[in-house]
């Protein structure tokens, strides 16, 4: 199947899932942190577990996880926090997303390897 269609189909599911999480977590920064950490865990697991299956990795990795997580919302929300005077929260938000996502990538990879 055309990889662009796979990425697009995964992108639809990822964007809708992010929208669904957002409607359950009204706090915008927590909502973005949740999808970024969850999506990084999933992508870490998929990258380690599906390395041999290019089509599934394109659909679920590049498409779904790529669209489920977001950098632009994270950047806008962090700048807004900083500007509102909540500078420590802004720095904390930037650090939590980074550390949370990197740990999640490692944990996801470890989980996939352990289950294989």
């Amino acid at each position: 199947m055309n990889p662009f269609l796979l990425v697009g189909a995964g992108g639809v599911l990822g964007a809708l899932s992010r929208f669904a999480v957002g409607s359950r977590i009204p706090d915008r920064q927590r909502d973005t942190l949740a999808v970024n950490v969850l999506g990084s865990f999933a992508l870490g697991a998929l990258t380690a577990g599906l390395a041999a299956d290019a089509a599934l990795l394109t659909l679920f990795g590049t498409g779904f996880c790529g669209a489920f997580t977001t950098f632009s919302s994270f950047a806008v929300e962090t700048v807004e926090l900083y500007e509102s005077g909540a500078r420590q929260e802004a720095i904390g938000n930037a650090a939590l997303n980074l550390v949370g996502a990197l740990l999640a990538v490692g944990l996801g990879g470890w989980t996939a390897t352990a289950l294989a």
């Binding site: 599911l13 977001t70 950098f71 806008v76 980074l98």
Partner: protein
């Protein structure tokens, strides 16, 4: 009761169903286009350093900064536009998970450079996007 009242949009189950479905369709259309364009940009930057992800994250942060600033500033932006362009397109065009996985795979020096570049340029892009809107709208 007049004929039009009996068939007003809120009373019609079909119209109500469409009203509920509309935000999902907007997010889906935007998500489809955003993910495909991100994939196209990544394909244009083959090689060791994840330049493609940096490019989409910075460009998407610029555009979302401009879009949301415009929405706040003028109130002219409809909820539909925000859903299809913001929640759908730009949020799917940019990515945090790919950025995190690629960072974890780099050497320590390049990983620090990648995080620094995405963060610094991403935040500056939000501010630049707003400034661009300010220039255009005066």
């Amino acid at each position: 009761m007049s004929e039009t009242d009996a068939h007003s949009a809120t009373e019609d189950p079909g119209a109500r169903w469409l009203e509920r479905l509309e935000p999902l369709l907007l997010v889906a259309v935007g998500g489809f286009a955003g993910a495909i364009l991100r994939h196209a940009v990544a394909a244009a930057f083959p090689g060791g350093f994840p330049w493609g992800t940096l490019a989409v994250n910075v460009a998407g942060s610029f555009a979302l900064g401009a879009l949301l600033y415009e929405a706040e500033l003028s109130g002219r932006l409809s909820a539909e536009t925000r859903l299809v362009l913001g929640t759908g397109f730009l949020s799917s065009f940019t990515t945090y998970s790919t950025f995190a996985v690629q960072t974890a795979a780099l050497s320590p020096t390049l990983a620090v450079a990648n995080v620094g570049a995405n963060y610094a340029l991403g935040f500056v892009a939000v501010l630049a996007g707003r400034a661009a809107v300010g220039e255009v709208t005066g």
